[in-house]
């Protein structure tokens, strides 16, 4: 069974209460949007952090990607708010 590591940053991390977690990797055609919706349906902090995907950004294996990208064979999905560095 392939695993996918989910990593969270900033208020996404705070709402969920975890830095990272491992899940079974969904079928490769599953998009990030699909997975985020499934996570949000867990309720609680997940719902709070992930229900409004317009407030979120994602990186798949450390590359920024749009939410309609498929997860494919990726090993790490990061979810976070728009970046505010610099």
């Amino acid at each position: 069974m392939a695993t996918l590591t989910l990593v969270y940053f900033a208020w996404v991390r705070e709402a969920i209460g975890l830095d990272e977690e491992r899940i079974e990797r969904p079928a490769s055609g599953t998009t990030i949007a699909d997975l985020v919706a499934a996570l949000a349906s867990r309720g609680g902090g997940y719902a709070e952090a992930l229900s409004d995907s317009s407030r979120l950004r994602a990186a798949l294996d450390q590359r920024f990607v749009p939410f309609d990208d498929p997860i494919g064979e990726a090993r790490e999905l990061a979810l976070f708010p728009p970046v505010t560095g610099g």
Partner: protein
């Protein structure tokens, strides 16, 4: 010369400038970001995505090197808790041509703002804390360079 660092420690902007000046170019441009201490801010905390940050900032630096005729480029981005007045970020560029130095410096900071995995949290004297919200104009500014 192309050097990129992500670090908690402060840095010596003077030494960085001197190294860029020594490359023999006609112009050195720099930008230093400083923590503003307004509204009772006691600390700015910079979180990042360690596995991604350095490769991503290097990618942005490579992009600048490819786009402008640069003799050298230096990026330093700090992470962790920072006090008002502290340096957050330094971008320095050296080129034979002043326009290349100035434009690439602006490009680098615009892209760091909108395309590098850093997040800022503000802490205030009354104990409140707040994640800084991204400004749409920052993303627009970065997109401007792709036109």
């Amino acid at each position: 010369m192309k050097r990129v660092s992500i670090q908690t420690a402060d840095f010596d902007a003077a030494a960085e400038l001197a190294a860029l000046e020594a490359l023999g170019g006609g112009g050195v441009a720099s930008f230093t970001g400083i923590v503003r201490g307004e509204g009772g801010l006691t600390a700015l905390e910079l979180e990042h995505y360690p596995a991604m940050t350095l490769p991503q900032v290097q990618r942005i630096a490579d992009e600048a090197m490819a786009r402008w005729p640069l003799l050298g480029l230096r990026v330093i981005h700090r992470v962790g808790p920072l006090e008002p007045g502290a340096r957050i970020v330094f971008v320095g560029t050296a080129s034979r041509h002043r326009t290349a130095a100035l434009e690439s410096c602006a490009y680098l900071i615009d892209w760091l703002k909108s395309h590098a995995p850093f997040w800022k949290k503000e802490h205030f004297t009354d104990g409140a804390a707040r994640w800084v919200e991204a400004r749409p104009e920052d993303e627009e500014k970065a997109r401007g360079w792709t036109r």
